[in-house]
Subunit: 555 residues, 2 copies
Amino acid sequence: MKKEKEKVKIIPLGGVNEIGKNLTVIEYKEDIIVIDCGLKFPDEDMFGIDIVIPDVTYLIKNKDKVRGIFLTHGHEDHIGALPYVLKQLNVPIYGTKLTLGIVETKLKEHGLLSTTELIRVSPKDIIKLQSVSVEFIKTNHSIADSVAIAIHTPLGAILHTGDFKIDYTPIDGDVADLSRFADLGRKGVLLMLADSTNVERSGYTMSESTVGETFKNIFSTAKGRIIVATFASNIHRIQQIITAASKYNRKVAVSGRSMENIVGVATELGYLNFEKDILINIDAINKYPNDKLVIITTGSQGEPMSALTRMAASEHRKVNIIEGDMVIISATPIPGNEKLVSKVINQLFKKGADVIYEALADVHVSGHACQEELKLMHTLVKPKFFMPVHGEYRHLKQHFELALKLGTPEEKMLIMDIGDVVEVSRDAIKKNGTVPSGQVFVDGLGVGDVGNIVLRDRKHLSQDGILTVVITIEKETGNVIAGPDIISRGFVYVRESEELMEEAREVVKKSLKVCEEKHSTDWVTMKSTIKEGLRVFLYEKTKRRPMILPIIMEI
Amino acid sequence: MKKEKEKVKIIPLGGVNEIGKNLTVIEYKEDIIVIDCGLKFPDEDMFGIDIVIPDVTYLIKNKDKVRGIFLTHGHEDHIGALPYVLKQLNVPIYGTKLTLGIVETKLKEHGLLSTTELIRVSPKDIIKLQSVSVEFIKTNHSIADSVAIAIHTPLGAILHTGDFKIDYTPIDGDVADLSRFADLGRKGVLLMLADSTNVERSGYTMSESTVGETFKNIFSTAKGRIIVATFASNIHRIQQIITAASKYNRKVAVSGRSMENIVGVATELGYLNFEKDILINIDAINKYPNDKLVIITTGSQGEPMSALTRMAASEHRKVNIIEGDMVIISATPIPGNEKLVSKVINQLFKKGADVIYEALADVHVSGHACQEELKLMHTLVKPKFFMPVHGEYRHLKQHFELALKLGTPEEKMLIMDIGDVVEVSRDAIKKNGTVPSGQVFVDGLGVGDVGNIVLRDRKHLSQDGILTVVITIEKETGNVIAGPDIISRGFVYVRESEELMEEAREVVKKSLKVCEEKHSTDWVTMKSTIKEGLRVFLYEKTKRRPMILPIIMEI
C-alpha cells in the first residue's frame, strides 16, 4: 500500500470571488482551523434580505475536528456570521482584545454570550492544537488589534494575512510585525493567502495619521459645530477626532447606536485615550457653545436609518443641522452606496452646513494594502505557494499577476472559488473536489428560508406589481358563482385605470368560457388559461408584465 | 402706473438638483426658448420604471409662446424626452447636424419623424425670433457637434454653456470657440448658466486624444482579438478606435443596436473617417484571424441586455469570449453601475480574456470641464449674473463657491431648484414663484400613470412579498362559506412553511370570529381586523412585514 502523501487542505467558504463573508477552512489531519466568520451585505437584487452568511454545512459535518474560529479582526465581514454559525457549531472563538470586545457585544444581543467560549490572544501568542499550532502576528488595518494568522504544520507554515496594510506611523504606535513576517519567510512558508482588496491601486496606502493632520487643519478654522461621520469600528480614526477636539478645546458627543457601543467597548478596554471630561452625553450638547462641540456619528455610508442620515433629513431627535455646522464625512462610499451618500451630502448643504468629503480633502485612508505593500509582503514571506483571497475575481486575478511578476511560478499559484478543496503538499498545490458552499440569506428571523424562488418572485413583484384574480366556483356544477374579481397592487394607479380593469375582467370571463367549451375545467388548466389570457392582454395594453395570481374558491 | 421692469425669466424644469433630464426654459416677452429636453434613468428605488422625464405642464400651458426646443448635443439626458414631449407640444427642434441625426433615429422609432420640424444649425448661426435671437457656439464634449447657446435679449445675452469641456487637441480639430466666448464677455453677458458636473475635480480634463494614444499602445502589443466597449454616442472615441485598428491592420466590426445605429448615422453624416473596407459585418468576423480583428461594442456600463454583458455571460449569438481576447472598457461606471460593470469584468477574466479598465490604464476621459476649465469660462465670459446648472445640489453649491472665489458677488448668483421662476433684470436676480415641475415616470406604454402609491407598493412587495387572504361570504347570512385561503408570493418558500400558513389561517379565523362577536361584519372592519391580526402574528413569527391583501367574495 502506497503511503498517502501528507497534505493540508484549504477550503474557502467565503471571501473569494466576492467581497465579504470571509471564512477560510484550514484542515490538517485531525484539526480543522476556521479563520474568520463574516457576513456580506446583500446585493441590490437580493430584495428584502438583511444579510448574507456562508454555508457552513462542511463544518457542521466535521464538527468534531473543528478546533475553533480564529478571528483576524472585528469587522462585520469577518465576525458578522458568528451568531448564526455558533447556533449550529459551538466552538471556541480566538481573538485579540478589541476583536473579542466587539464580538461580546454581538453575542450578548443574540443571547449567546454565556454558552460561548471566548479565548483572548495577543500578537506573538501561539496556540497549540493536536497536530498544528496557530500563531497571531500584528498587522495594521482600519480597525485596531488586527492580526495575521500563521498555522504551523509539519509541512510548513500556512500564512493568512487577514485584511492588512502597512502603516509606519500608526496611531497605536505598533507597526505591522514586519520582522516576524521576514523571520517566517526565512524559515520557509509553505503557503500564503493574502488580502487582494486594493491590488488594483498602485503605490502605498497613506498612513492613518495623515487623516489626523487633515482633522487638525479643519478643526483649527471651524467656527461652528463639527460633526464627523466615520465607521464605528475605526477606533484610530475616532481617537484622532478626539485628539483634534482636545487640541481645540472642544467637547465630544457620540451619536448612533453602533458608535456608542464601540466607543464604550474601546474605552473600557483602553483603546481610546482622552481626559475623562472631554466626552459628554449627546443630550448635553445644548449646554455648550457650538464652537466648543464635536459630534462623532455613524452614517458615513448614507445608510437610511443611521444617525447622520437622520440629521440630514431633520429626523434626528437630538441633533438638528444648522447653518454654520461643519460636517466631515470621513469615509469612502462602498460601491453601491454612492447615491445614498450623495443624497445626504446634498441635504446637508441645503441646510446650510459646510460639508467636507473625500472629493474635497484627505479625510479618509483605506485599510488595505496597495500594490507596493503587497509586493513587500510577498518579498518578505517568500511563500512556496500562493493563493489570493478577499476580492472579486478581478482582484484575485490581478493579485495572481502581481505575484507572477515578482517571480512566483504560475504552477505554484491557484485562484480558488468558494467550496473548492485545495490540497497543498510539500511540492504541489491542486484542487481536488468541492464541498457544499454558497450564500445563506438571513431575512428577519429566517435563516436560509428565503431562496431563489422567493427572491425571483420579489424581483418580479418589484418590477410590475401583482394582479390577483379571484373566482368562486360551485363544486357540484362547476359554475362560476362569484367573480372574477381583480385586485392589483404595484401595477397601475387603480382609480385611473378602471376601464383597463373592466376590460381585464372581460378577458378573464372569456378565458373561463374557453375552458368551459373545451370541458377543461380542472383547476390547473383554468388557472393557466386565465394567466395566459391576461398576460397577453396586459402586455399589449401596457407593455408591462405584472405577476398574475389566479385564485379559485370552491363551495 | 409704474412701468414694469423689463426682465427675462429662467425656469429650470430639470437638470438642477439632479443629474439628467436637462430642460431649461428661457422666457422673454412673447418668446419661450426651451434648451434641451432630456431624460433621466431611474434611481434604484423607482422600481419597474423605464425612464424619467420632466413635467412640462408649464410649456403646454404656454404652447403659443414656445418657439422651439434648442438642443446643445445628442446625449439622452438632453434629447431623450423629446418623443414624449413632442406628442404634447409640437414645436420645431433646432440642433447641429449630428445631434439632429441622432434625434431623427429616435423620432423614427416613435413614428414622429414626419410630423416634427427639424431645423439644422451650425456653430455661429443665429436664429432670429420675435424679440430675441439664439446663437450657437462651438464647445467640446464627449459627443461630437456640441454647442453652447446664447440668447440675445435687449437686456443682454443669456449664455447656457450646455455640457462642455475645453479640448485643445480635439479629434475633429475644432476647439471650443473661446474667441467667441471672450467676445461675448467683452460685450457684456447678463447671465451665464454653466455645467457643474465636474466641479469637484481639480485641474483640467484630459484631451480626448490622450485616449487614442493609450489605444495605440494597447493595440501595438495585443496578440488576439480586441474588443472595445464604449458609449455609442462617443463618435470621437469610436473614430480613435478605428484609427488605431487601421494602423495595426485590423478590421472593425460593430456590435449592439445603439452602436450600430450611431455608427450608421455618423458615417452617413461624415463624422467618421475610414477606408471603406475596414468595417466588416459582425457575421463575418470568423473569416478573419483573431489578431486582425477589433470589435466595437455597447455595454461599457454593464447594462444587463447590452452586447458586452451578453458576451461575458456567453449569451451573445455572434461573439464568444475566448482566451487571449483583449477587452477594453473605455468608460467610467456611472454612479450606481459599479457593481454591474464589476460583474462583467469578473466574467471576462474568468473566460480567460485580458481586461483593461480605468483602474488599470488611461482608457477614458470625462466630457465635462474640471475646475480650471470652469475658471477659464467664467473669466472669459465675465457674466453679470451666474447660476450653476447640471448637477446635484453639492455640485451647484461647489460651483457657486468657485464663482465666489473668482470674484462674483454672492447677491449676483442663485442656486435654482426645478420649477423655480427666476427673474433677471438689468440689475437684479431673484426668485419669484414657481411653476409645476417634477418627475414623470415612463413605465412600458404608460407615461405618468405610475405614481408614488404604485411605487410604494412595489417597494413593499420587493421587501417581503405579499399574502393574499380570500374568503367567500354568503350575502344573506354573512356566514363564511369558503376559505380563508392564504396564498403568498415572495414571502417564504411555501413548501417549507406549511405549518406557518396553517397557523396564519387560524389567526384569520380568530379575527373573523372577533368581528362576528362584535357584530362588526362590514367589509372594511373585517378586512382591517384580518390585516392587523396577521400583521402582528407574522411579524412575531418572522420579523417580516409582507403586504397583506384580504379579499372578500360574496355570493
